[in-house]
């Protein structure tokens, strides 16, 4: 008898007209490792939740049957909202306490689970002090500790940087005997761990089912067109058509130019987001100055960007935050764009360009992840800024939204906009032909740059006249040179 058996299974979430999942017939055998694929909205997460027993009768309408023979454990996408306790060991023990494990057996089981996932610290480690990848390893230990016969993973590496994702995959590779079902956007790195790939058909049923190699060989093109990340289907690169233009913004050794894309990369904690906020005129630089050239600043050239009025800032530098919901200020998609654009014709143009026209009257908070991402980029573009700064724009996006974003940003670049993207995604950096600015892990408070070789453009040096004579910038002592303060 298989570990999982579904017959004509379907689920419709309460209050929705559309079935999230329908007509699914499926057997999963003991010990199989299965990836569940499908375009956005095909019901992958719903199926996983059903297998985990997280869809009680009041959550919606159900049809068909679902049999899960074993106890399940599930790991979700966001590490921060699935850890319950403050200390690592207590968190792993939580699941055992809940199922009534005898107290004297709890700690040996906890230690064993921590060892299985390769958790490098002791039980007393504070979970807030862990990196995202380490937190996901801990969440995995918490799911494994009660010896589930069926392990479910809902995009376990989507929120992690490449190092964190590698840590989690390393842990998964060590669990050879557990039946596993995984949902993940980017499966290429997972393929060596998989026995089987199941592709869900949006609207009902299963489109493909078999060993990864044969499914990808037969359905690869079709899946890629539907937005699924398929191994061996590279995304087209959109290299710049022109050379970088005038300098728009500079900070110490860093130059941001028109008609150029700059990718800020580096490990978590290197200060990438802080740099994006400083370049975006949203936070006062802690070290040095952000200088906007006259080409960008116009009449405000005597003030640094963080002192500009918000409306002036939005018309010159657009910022796209990692979490789109942070940026929404109105109750309608159309109003979000009208806030920056003013001109209704431009609102309509942006709605069409970012495929949001059908959603113009919807509340931004009710959109899907990909739709929210497109809207947040559209809102930043509404006031037609010359420079666009994006924090992890491609995080967790399906191939379709990803490709659209790359196309849009490459187009903006070729129209003479400057693009700065904080990103962990090497494919994205390559696809828009971005100049890379790797930030080193930060030893102190300051953000440090490694200026790539060949960047011989003139930088702001200590002997240059102060760009903002009326600002009392902290003088920076430079051995053998006059400080900026004295240059006045």
């Amino acid at each position: 008898m298989p570990a999982v058996r579904l017959r004509g299974f379907g689920h419709r979430h309460a209050g929705r007209r559309r079935w999230a999942l329908r007509g699914v017939d499926l057997d999963i055998e003991q010990g199989e490792r299965v990836a569940l694929l499908g375009p956005s909205g095909a019901g992958k997460s719903t199926l996983l939740a059903a297998l985990a027993g997280l869809l009680p009768p009041e959550s919606g309408e159900r049809e068909g049957t679902i049999e899960v023979r074993e106890r399940t454990g599930i790991v979700f996408q966001d590490p921060q909202s699935q850890l319950v306790m403050e200390r690592a060991g207590d968190d792993v023990a939580f699941g055992l306490e809940n199922i009534g494990t005898r107290p004297e057996r709890i700690w040996p089981l906890v230690d064993d689970a921590l060892r299985r996932v390769g958790f490098p610290y002791g039980r007393d480690r504070n979970v807030a002090a862990l990196s995202g990848g380490e937190q996901q390893r801990l969440a995995l230990a918490g799911a494994l500790v009660s010896r589930p016969g069926l392990l479910l993973l809902d995009e376990p590496t989507a929120n992690l940087d490449p190092d964190g994702a590698r840590l989690v995959r390393g842990s998964l590779a060590g669990l050879d005997d557990t039946t596993t079902v995984i949902v993940e956007h980017r499966v290429a790195e997972l393929v060596p761990l998989l026995d089987r790939v199941i592709v869900l058909e949006p609207g009902g049923g299963i489109r493909a089912d078999g060993p990864p190699a044969s499914v990808f060989a037969r359905y690869g093109d079709e899946l890629a067109a539907d937005g699924v990340w398929v191994p061996g289907h590279p995304v087209p690169a959109l290299s710049p058509r022109s050379t970088p233009g005038e300098v728009l913004l500079r900070q110490d050794g860093l130059q941001v130019r028109a008609a150029e894309a700059l990718a800020v990369t580096g490990p978590n904690g290197a200060g990438k987001t802080t740099l994006a906020l400083q370049l975006g005129g949203l936070r006062k630089p802690t070290d040095g100055l952000v200088v906007a050239t006259a080409a960008l600043a116009g009449p405000d050239a005597t003030k640094p960007p963080h002192k500009w009025r918000a409306r002036a800032l939005a018309g010159r530098i657009g910022s796209v935050f990692q979490n789109p919901e942070h940026q929404f200020v109105t109750a309608k998609v159309r109003d979000e764009l009208a806030l920056g654009a003013g001109d209704p014709a431009r609102v309509d143009e942006l709605l069409v360009r970012l495929r949001l026209d059908a959603l113009a009257e919807a509340n931004p908070h009710t959109l899907s992840g990909g739709e929210q991402r497109r809207l947040s980029v559209a809102t930043a573009l509404a006031a037609a800024p010359r420079l666009l700064i994006l924090d992890e724009p491609t995080f967790g996006q399906d191939r379709r939204t990803w490709t659209e974003l790359v196309g849009l940003l490459a187009g903006l670049r070729d129209d003479g906009h400057g693009i700065v993207a904080v990103t962990h995604d090497p494919d994205f950096t390559a696809a828009i032909g971005a100049r890379e600015l790797p930030l080193a892990a930060r030893p102190l408070e300051a953000v440090r740059y490694c200026v790539p070789p060949g960047d011989d453009s003139p930088n702001l040096r200590s002997g240059d006249p102060h760009p903002y004579p009326h600002e009392n910038a902290r003088p920076q002592p430079v051995p053998g040179a006059t400080s900026r303060g004295e240059a006045q």
């Binding site: 975006g280 009025r309 918000a310 200020v329």
Partner: protein, 245 residues
């Protein structure tokens, strides 16, 4: 703070109960004598909790500031300074004597231990105690979230300038965004807890045993004695003024 100090190591539920006893006793009396006696006793046991007076003062500075503020206000608006001085002194003593036990209890208690003790010894529902503990862990995230939301509004070209009405509207809209995010995160946390069998009806066991022993009972008993002594001295000195009547 040293967690091994004789009173710091007491059961968290016992510490809370002792604090509650003192609070209750001092709330019923309006005179300065009872709180003075209680405060003296409370300050005397601070070292037994492994706390330095300096650390305690740093922890309690909001309390110090608010008490001084209250006393100052009473003085400023007083007709008869002499009579007000007495009641202001009584008020300040009461505020300190009531708040100090709570400050000491929380300064010497780990939140996880407190939740464990409330479930195991005080028989509070596990859903409430552990649920609150889990939610408490997410609170620091809200501060960073709030900063980002407000920066994101500036990036959208929205700022209030000096207009108080615009400022209030901006605050309300940012608070709404914060709330949406907090609810989403809370829902995900609840799902993750359910998936790990939380409060599923099965009998629960405890990995960390919290015991309520003789020493813990003695702490509560001690608090009852201090409260009784404070009220007795107040009555004997003829200063006792009950809250009601």
């Amino acid at each position: 703070m040293s967690p091994a100090a004789p009173l710091a190591a007491r059961n968290p539920a016992a510490k809370l109960a002792a604090a509650a006893v003192l609070t209750l006793a001092l709330v019923v009396s309006l005179d300065p004598v009872a709180p003075a006696v209680a405060l003296a006793a409370e300050l005397a046991v601070v070292p037994l909790f492994g706390l330095r007076y300096g650390t305690l003062a740093r922890r309690a500075w909001p309390l110090l500031v608010s008490v001084l503020g209250a006393v100052l206000t009473l003085f400023l608006f007083a007709q008869d300074r002499q009579q007000v001085a007495a009641s202001a002194l009584a008020l300040a003593l009461r505020l300190f004597a009531v708040a100090l036990p709570g400050v000491i209890a929380f300064a010497t208690t780990d939140p996880t231990d407190l939740a464990d003790a409330l479930v195991q010894n005080a028989r509070l529902p596990v859903r409430f105690a552990i649920g609150t503990l889990a939610a408490w862990r997410l609170v620091p995230l809200l501060g960073e979230e709030w900063r980002l939301i407000n920066l994101a509004r500036r990036a959208r070209g929205v700022d209030a300038g000096r207009n108080p009405v615009a400022r209030l509207r901006l605050f309300v809209s940012a608070a709404f965004t914060l709330l949406v995010g907090a609810i989403r995160r809370g829902t995900r946390l609840a799902a993750a807890m359910d998936a790990r069998g939380f409060d599923s009806g099965a009998p629960r066991t405890y990995a960390r045993r919290q015991t309520f022993g003789a020493a813990d009972a003695a702490l509560v008993g001690g608090a009852v004695c201090v409260a009784g002594l404070a009220l007795a001295v107040s009555v004997a000195a003829g200063a006792f003024r009950p809250l009601l009547g």
